[in-house]
Subunit: 284 residues, 2 copies
């Protein structure tokens, strides 16, 4: 007969199995600051994994580092080359630790080649004068909107529940080129998972390439650089729980092979949790 | 008597002396990818140099690298610690070179400590379907607006000619906290200098911290992470020449010690040259 403590652990593990996002971003420590991870079929994209899960994995390497101080403020991920299905390593190094901020460089490698690099700034926050300048969009409540079917070409969409206010991607589409690339949607992990920095980092990349909203035909695209600013601290994220968040994203310019897009992520209670920006390669 | 070629070089050097920005971002090669630079009084800020000139110097290390391919697409600079007046080193390493993109990591050091790190993506562009989604603001022509006096506290402002449409920073001010942090201005190097990637990278950081527009009292502030997406290629920048560019910047949220701000930089002829984002520490 197993001892009681072991038995309790087993029961808990069976009743709440590891969430697919935690499995996909799981890192096994190999040495100080060095980890091994593995791609997950639940977050597969057309080529390699969904970029958001790569960003979340790189952030997770810092979050798990014993020398980490504070919460993430800024994360920039550069997607340097394709990541094949299978194992990879992640190395996270603190570049400089100040009194209230800490700077990190992170590299994801596969077969000794860099697949992605990241920089992150972590900080300890204090209460200060604060002001919100962006505006929460006027939208219906999440439960008033239908859940969007997944995109078969992008398997990772199965791992999110999206309810579009406008700007859904339905490709190939009979609609013509529009004048606007904005999408606004309620979104949460599927299955639901309490919001934290890892899931927020991934979710900030879940807004489809704006090219597909503006010009609804398939084309090769790939984010080259992705930056997220975290306005929320851990407590504000925890307060959101498993509720959906509201995201809105739009492009500023498509020009000669690259476009940028910018996004806001709001809590259900209208707190601005993150602002996020990326520049994306596209081919006609 | 000096040989003719030497004499011609001397004459040219006297008639068109090096622009202060080129002096401030000058890098002397020490070894492959390793350079020495020196801070410049013309771009001094309250503590250390103006962040824009640090960003431009880091970008310059890649631009001058013999292995560089293509033009900058994305630049992220993390300001890790204060840079003292004097010499520093910059090390630029190509992380990965693909067919059309190249990824770089750059570190600025002083006394063996990282003062700033950067990542950059360079790329070769092709002509493609293009579309502008952001809108050029409705503004008077530059020559219809007065030149703003420099800010004595921020010596680097002497190195820019700014003509504000709105949102000038005049501190300390009798005005109260506003509801908006937007500034729109015509800006160019002083003395004038043809626009290129180095000057554009610096100029993208020349929008004052939005805190000072929203709440016009001095407070300690410092950018921690700064990202610029370059929409323009070298030819489009060269076409701008020494004409002023139009910049517009605003914050999205000030919250517990950090705020973000986002900017657009347009050519006089309404081409969107760059979009730029940063997150800034502030203390009450």
């Amino acid at each position: 007969m197993l001892p009681l403590r072991g038995g309790m652990r087993d029961t808990r593990a069976m009743s709440t199995p590891e969430h697919p996002l935690d499995a996909a971003t799981h890192l096994e420590p190999l040495a100080a600051g060095l980890y091994r991870g593995r791609t997950s079929a639940n977050y597969a994209n057309m080529v390699g994994p969904f970029g958001g899960v790569i960003a979340a994995t790189l952030l997770n390497a810092v979050l798990q580092h014993p020398g980490r101080q504070g919460d993430p403020i800024a994360l920039t991920v550069n997607f340097a080359g394709p990541l094949a299905d299978g194992a990879f390593t992640v190395e996270a190094n603190p570049v400089r630790t100040n009194r209230s901020t800490q700077h990190w460089l992170v590299v994801m490698r596969q077969k000794e080649q860099a697949a992605a690099t990241a920089s992150a700034v972590f900080a300890s926050r204090r209460k200060t004068w604060s002001a919100l300048e962006a505006r929460f969009p006027v939208v219906p409540a999440a439960h008033e909107l239908p859940v969007e079917p997944n995109l078969e070409r992008a398997l990772w969409t199965r791992s999110y529940e999206m309810r579009f206010v406008d700007g859904a991607v339905r490709l190939p589409s009979l609609s013509r080129e529009g004048s606007d690339s904005r999408s606004t949607l309620w979104i949460r992990d599927a299955p639901p998972r309490p919001l934290d920095f890892v899931s927020l980092a991934a979710l900030c990349d879940a807004f489809f390439p704006r090219l597909f909203v503006r010009r609804p035909v398939w084309a090769p695209v790939g984010t080259v650089s992705f930056t997220t600013y975290f306005h929320a601290d851990a407590a504000l994220l925890a307060a959101n729980g498993e509720a959906p968040v509201l995201g809105t994203a739009h492009a500023q310019q498509f020009r000669n092979g690259y476009f940028d897009q910018t996004a806001e992520v709001w809590s259900e209670k209208a707190a601005l949790l993150a602002t996020s920006h990326q520049i994306v390669y596209y081919k006609e």
